[in-house]
Symmetry: C2
Subunit: 331 residues, 2 copies
């Protein structure tokens, strides 16, 4: 019997999903590493729909064929279905185990077998962003989940297992630790200064311009002041907005263009480019929170976390965000 | 001019060392990846001492040649030397920048070009552990540092840049975030229960034996209940002890044997084996703290942290610690 549970370490408080069912999931990269000449069939390509669970949501193109397809993750890290008979338990030490509840979906971002968003048209990518919005709206009214993260893994160094352009939604009954820390800190800032810390950050970055990468209409992008990896870039709406699912249709196109522009510039700096793109958006219970501001964090993965990071909880970044921004702004 | 500073992100509170000087450090693995046929000279081999800074400490063998050699890291992440003219500063947002103060040393664990501790005799490895102890004792009386972490990166997936068997000491003027969290949680437990949480954990693990890997005299090893990676194993002294530098000579030999035994078993499970070994020990100001218990955390690196981990602060482990322990205990 495989074990699937969410455990909390009694000493560090770290949350770990023990997810043995996921060990069996397919991998394009493992196949390459093993030197297999032939890829197995890509489950995300048009015509292979039978290799994935049934679609939860689709956007169709002019021809009626799907352009973006959302399916349940076949190897979910979390699930709403009754997991065995696991009862939440707490040891005398304070170690806890809970059923790994939640929702794990996959956005198949194109019917074509392309590997990155730069191979989509901006209209196609805008449709993907609208699919994000639709799924967030869908889950926002479900009482079983409090928050959803959307993320994308591109390249083997970023933990991708399939190369076909895709991203994932993870909705959880609790607010994940990283977002909880951001919410708390931004609420504290707001209580003190009566202004959103992200709005202030945007203003500072636009004033100094030392880390600015893109300043285009509704969105701004800059290298993060304390970026964990070389070229870590944040993309934010200029106007205060706590939740991504409030995004307008018009802005999905503008945002798509900026994302493609940044990924294109990163590809010119890092080859091969592996990265994680992570959407940070306020919990579903908070419709118009004044203290939080949705944003994307784009983290290229060019250095390996080593004993230093695993042992201290700190990061080492060998390229200053100022120099990184300078390189990304050279056309 | 290169930038070296310790930055704190105003929103997440994350600490990041911006360390541009480290970008130039040599790498055995980069050379391999680039397909260079010939390695450059290994700076850690006997006879190449001129390629490293002067030794801070050495243990000599019977023949008078060095067996373990401690040198300053040539590409330090932190340093006590005056770093440019950087003054600590805090932005209006609460983002801080400080000089990256501290000590960064390297333990060269053998004069021979071997790659892992299983290629040393247990007497040789015991000498390495005594070198750890000596350097910790040395820094424990220095008022400029509060705490030291010792860690080892083995294999490219664990962030190693040189393959010659070695480890690193990082002493900081502050307690790093991960240790601070452990100290706080264990102090809270002690205040409540009047017993060390690690002592209790050892007792639980020895009673249930579900995750037990080694139970040998002075030391015990088990797979961590909420292990972040498959086969994450913790090694602890059975008798309460907050600081590694209180270890006896006799125990360095017993500990060396256990570490070699565990790494040997891991090599049989994961090939190639990449891992981080991290020493967690109490801050220097706390000589006989009843609530903390030094230990090693051995984290094999077989899965890649992806958007899930970078976006939520949680971990996914596809192998339960119970099953991992079962595999490590099959002889």
């Amino acid at each position: 019997m495989t074990i699937s549970e969410l455990r909390t370490d009694p000493i560090s408080g770290r949350q770990v999903l023990i997810a043995e069912d996921r060990a069996g999931r397919p991998s394009d990269f493992a196949a390459q590493e093993l030197g297999r000449g032939e890829q197995t069939e890509c489950p995300f390509c048009a015509g292979h729909e039978c290799l994935t669970p049934e679609a939860l949501f689709e956007f169709a193109g002019a021809s009626g064929e799907w352009q973006v397809r959302v399916v349940p993750n076949k190897y979910p890290a979390v699930s709403m279905e009754q997991q065995s008979s696991l009862q939440p338990r707490t040891s005398a030490l304070g170690a806890t185990a809970q059923p790994p509840e939640g929702v794990h979906e996959v956005f198949i971002e194109s019917p074509r077998h392309v590997q990155d968003i730069t191979e989509l048209s901006s209209v196609e990518l805008a449709l993907v962003l609208r699919a994000y919005r639709e799924r967030l709206r869908f889950w926002s009214t479900d009482e079983c989940v409090q928050h959803a993260t959307i993320f994308k893994n591109v390249g083997v160094a970023a933990g991708a297992s399939l190369e076909h352009v895709h991203s994932q939604l993870l909705a959880l009954p609790n607010i994940p630790p990283m977002l909880a820390a951001e919410m708390e800190s931004s609420q504290r800032y707001y209580a003190d200064k009566k202004v959103c810390v992200f709005c202030q950050l945007i203003e500072e970055e636009l004033t100094h311009r030392q880390r600015l990468v893109v300043d285009a209409g509704s969105f701004v992008a800059f290298c993060a002041y304390a970026g964990r990896q070389p070229f870590e870039t944040w993309i934010l709406p200029r106007k205060h907005s706590a939740r991504f699912d409030h995004l307008s249709d018009e802005d999905t196109v503008a945002l798509a263009e900026i994302l493609q522009q940044i990924v294109g510039r990163l590809q010119a700096q890092l080859s091969p480019l592996s990265y994680n793109l992570i959407l940070h958006t306020a919990p579903f219970s908070q419709r118009h929170v004044a203290s939080y501001h949705w944003h994307f964090e784009l983290v290229p993965r060019s250095t390996t976390l080593a004993g230093f990071e695993w042992g201290t909880g700190m990061f080492i970044n060998p390229l200053s965000p100022e120099r990184a921004a300078g390189r990304l702004c050279v056309e």
